[in-house]
């Protein structure tokens, strides 16, 4: 912990730089930042809310002088990975939420220049309001979550621009020295291609600022998806595990041939069901996971199979029609039921959905309609809170009937940890990983709510939700143990995580010396000599002494 005297000196300097109202140190006001949907919370020492890059630079210089660690957050909605919490308690949060300007939108080349506080809903709104002929790529996270925050974690969306790391260009970064760096061509005065060509000339350093603690990104160019002539969301329902596994290679082939151009997504039965309802406590003995029979029953009730593939086709109308045929052919090896939302169906949906959702008679149809609309929105750049429903799986009170874009699973008392792994795009790897994780989850008494995302032509990202009830301390403890055991099992099998939360940072380190982590430690010292920014974040060396 930082000694009070040292902190107070720094707080004084920060206050003269930001004004009183943007320096928060009163206990009560820190609660929102200490709260976490993951099993662990960390109480910060204070919170700073800069509005401009020069303020961020000044904050960092003050912190450096007083040797006080800072922890930048964008909007702090990193649910299931630590929310707004630092890796260690007692650090000073730099909340970038006030830096929420959309600095420009280029309607011709299709990009926006944004600050870290810009949210999904905000950018989507601006594009719609100004009739920009581009969509944004969005994730299933909160509409109020930060775009830059997610991209710096290498989060991904679902459109052809889903591998979001490949869609940013021209970063502005405040280093641990307080220096402000413009990457790519941004440091050449008047360079015209800064936001359309990320690499610049000389070393390409943008990757350094993702999943790291090397700097505070205060600005980025973000590419927008050209609005396609045609857009067709699709769903494929695979009845049994084997039906899906039989289609993994044909789907990879579609991705390889660029017929399927987007980051399509497969969810297992429980992940799909968790979008409809929460864990049926009444049908299950206390402390147990979902029995197989109940699971199969719920599949029937909600009309889902073992796996559901969702995605969309984007492009010229004739090309999309053709791609639909090729997709149907690829999954025909299994008995998958395929639903494609044609332009006509999408039109009907938009037109009649509100009436159906209000109608008593058609009430049974309502969840399907709502789900279809949310999916079509998500895949066309309209963020929605619908995909947060899964976070409420183990919540005692179930999914709130008034779930809205403003809902906050952390505030609602949800417990979630996201266990991730990267797999080669092969059926054998999907099978191996599934079996291993089911075994681990069964041992700890948790249900496996799994998705696989086709991040590229060659790799799948698996994300498994560990949903738990944080009001039961023993369950929260078991959830954390399940997370660690699952991550370690996946590593043993050769499937490292795509991303970790604050409780997984120490698991990234090796048992012995690792030249990669030694190199990243050296890079950290180069850009942040006093280790001011987010110590421990993707920095396993910090934990080495502890293990």
């Amino acid at each position: 912990m930082i000694p009070d005297e040292q902190l107070n000196l720094a707080l004084g300097e920060w206050t003269s730089c930001l004004s009183q109202e943007h320096v928060i140190s009163a206990e009560g006001l820190l609660d929102r930042y200490a709260r976490s949907s993951s099993a662990s919370s960390r109480r910060p020492a204070a919170v700073l809310k800069p509005a401009r890059t020069d303020e961020v630079a000044a904050i960092v210089k003050i912190a450096r002088r007083h040797r006080i660690p800072l922890y930048p957050i964008s909007t702090g909605l990193n649910w299931g990975y630590g929310d707004a919490c630092a890796v260690f308690p007692g650090q000073v949060i730099v909340d970038l939420g006030r830096m929420n300007r959309i600095l420009s939108i280029d309607r011709e080349l299709g990009y926006a220049v944004i600050e870290p506080g810009v949210t999904q809903a905000q950018l989507a709104g601006a594009l719609a309001q100004e009739s920009v002929p581009f969509w944004m790529d969005c994730t299933g996270a909160s509409p109020h979550s930060s775009l830059i925050g997610n991209i710096l974690e290498r989060g991904f969306g679902h459109t052809p621009y889903g591998n979001r790391l490949l869609t940013i260009s021209g970063l502005e970064v405040v280093l641990g020295t307080g220096d402000i760096v413009h990457t790519g061509f941004g440091h050449f005065a008047e360079a015209k291609p800064t936001y359309v060509f990320p690499y610049g000339v000389g070393p390409y350093i943008d990757g350094l600022f993702t999943q790291s603690n090397f700097g505070i990104v205060t600005r980025a160019g973000l590419w927008l998806l050209p609005k396609p002539e045609a857009f067709r969301p699709f769903l494929c329902f695979f009845a049994e595990d084997e039906d899906f596994l039989r289609c993994v290679e044909p789907l990879r082939e579609l991705r390889m041939q660029r017929v399927l151009q987007s980051v399509a997504h497969v969810a297992n039965d429980l992940r799909a069901i968790s979008g409809e309802r929460s864990f049926p406590r009444d049908l299950v003995p206390a402390g147990a996971r979902l029995p197989e029979g109940v699971r199969l029953g719920l599949r029937r009730v909600y009309g889902v199979g073992a796996w559901t593939l969702t995605g969309a086709l984007y492009g010229p109308a004739a090309q999309v029609r053709l791609q639909e045929r090729l997709l149907r052919r690829a999954v025909s090896a299994s008995r998958a039921r395929v639903v494609v939302l044609s332009e006509r169906k999408l039109g009907l949906l938009e037109r009649f959905a509100p009436a159906i959702e209000r109608s008593r008679l058609l009430r049974r149809l309502s969840p399907k309609i709502r789900a279809a609309r949310s999916l079509a929105g998500l895949l066309s750049g309209r963020p929605t809170s619908a995909f947060l429903r899964g976070s409420y799986w183990r919540r005692r009170e179930g999914i709130p009937s008034d779930l809205s874009d403003a809902s906050d699973p952390a505030a609602d008392g949800c417990g979630i940890l996201w266990l991730t792994a990267v797999l080669p795009f092969r059926a054998s790897d999907v099978r191996g990983m599934s079996v291993a994780l089911e075994e681990v989850f069964a041992r700890y008494g948790f249900d496996c709510l799994a998705t696989l995302s086709m991040i590229s032509e060659r790799a799948l990202v698996a994300i498994v939700t560990i949903a738990f009830d944080p009001s039961e301390p023993s369950e929260a403890e078991r959830a954390k143990e399940c997370y660690r055991a699952g991550l370690q099992r996946a590593l043993e099998l050769g499937y490292p995580p795509y991303r970790v939360g604050i409780d997984g940072m120490d698991l990234l380190g090796p048992a012995e010396e690792d030249a990669f982590w030694n190199a990243t430690e050296a890079l950290k010292r180069a850009l942040d000599p006093d280790g001011i920014i987010a110590p421990g974040r993707y920095q396993p060396g910090v934990f080495r002494g502890e293990r």
Copy 2:
């Protein structure tokens, strides 16, 4: 220069590590390394030829102990950018040509793991011999040039995998400390997705080793292009500048909508003509550039217009047919003549080309046939020397009649400098840049042989060849001045270079302090504390004292 005594001590240690035959210091044997097709040569102090990564690490440690700068090359065929020459004379070349193993080829996920000495021809040969259902992306450089060498310079090819930086995964790098780092997931024991998911977990550092001097890359995974069901190369001939300019935006739209998925390429008249013949000295006063009248005459003789677009469509047959229609529609705004090499035409070409090339009667057809075959080869992963013909533009003896894959423009006495720039994908930028460069080139008396490559949906890379006769010292001097003036003019206009040669490194630096270059200097010190590897390479700080 390194004092002899110091060098001799190091040479002794290198010899005991590599054996006598792989340590070259005899004057005569250094000639090939000192030779350069660009206006400047640099004589190295010695050449080391390691065969394994541990030998590279040992070499670096010895160099560090004796404070002797090393300069790694892969195959040393970086024509027009400095060939095998270091940025400064008197350094010790590390020639990685003996590290030429294809370590594995994955036929299912489509990648090869290769060493830096692996050449384009070598990998293409291995894929063909083993009937691997994947193609490689190749460049118009020598078939004997290194794949890794080109990719680390962020060179690009012409297929959908043309932005080659996006197709590597899992690097092995020897740092300036002699440490061996495995990037991405490569440092996790037994990780399965090392070669299919480049980012790993934690900071993504691969970009650091491109256009830099931070380490010596000794291994990389390289993604291969799935062999498409259909493949159609195309050529569009634009009669006048305005015809092409009118199509820039429609072509961008095709790229944006992923109808045109590859890095298509536009060449101006002189670049196209330089593939057919060299500069017509007999028609032009000594020391002058090509007069407008002669230029127009040559256009007629060779049947080319002001600009020629080349590229190919790849994918399922029906999708490619559709894309052809959309391409024809996009360029129909101008009076472009479009030639598409359908599968039938390609078949005829392969079958009858040798006979036509031998026939006296059809001799006039022969160059067209040869060009079409070379283009189809280049676009389908078969490297060819045909695109080196332009390097011979100002050579007194013209293009050798026996030009082959083994030809070496540097040895043949060609002079070339490649001036590059990145532009937003907009007609106004193409126009602005063309006018400015024509003006600079006219001032120095050089012809503008230009290409524009659609590196992405939003950016174009311009490469302009400055061809000169190195046997005339004043012409070589003028060429260098033209290069520097062109680069500076482009920078002023906001079009920074995509890549520079050894004579352009000092131009990258700013007049004053630049936080970006300061940060890269800090990164350099972190990974190579004694500045052993390639000082000055994309490191403008080294020149700061000189300016």
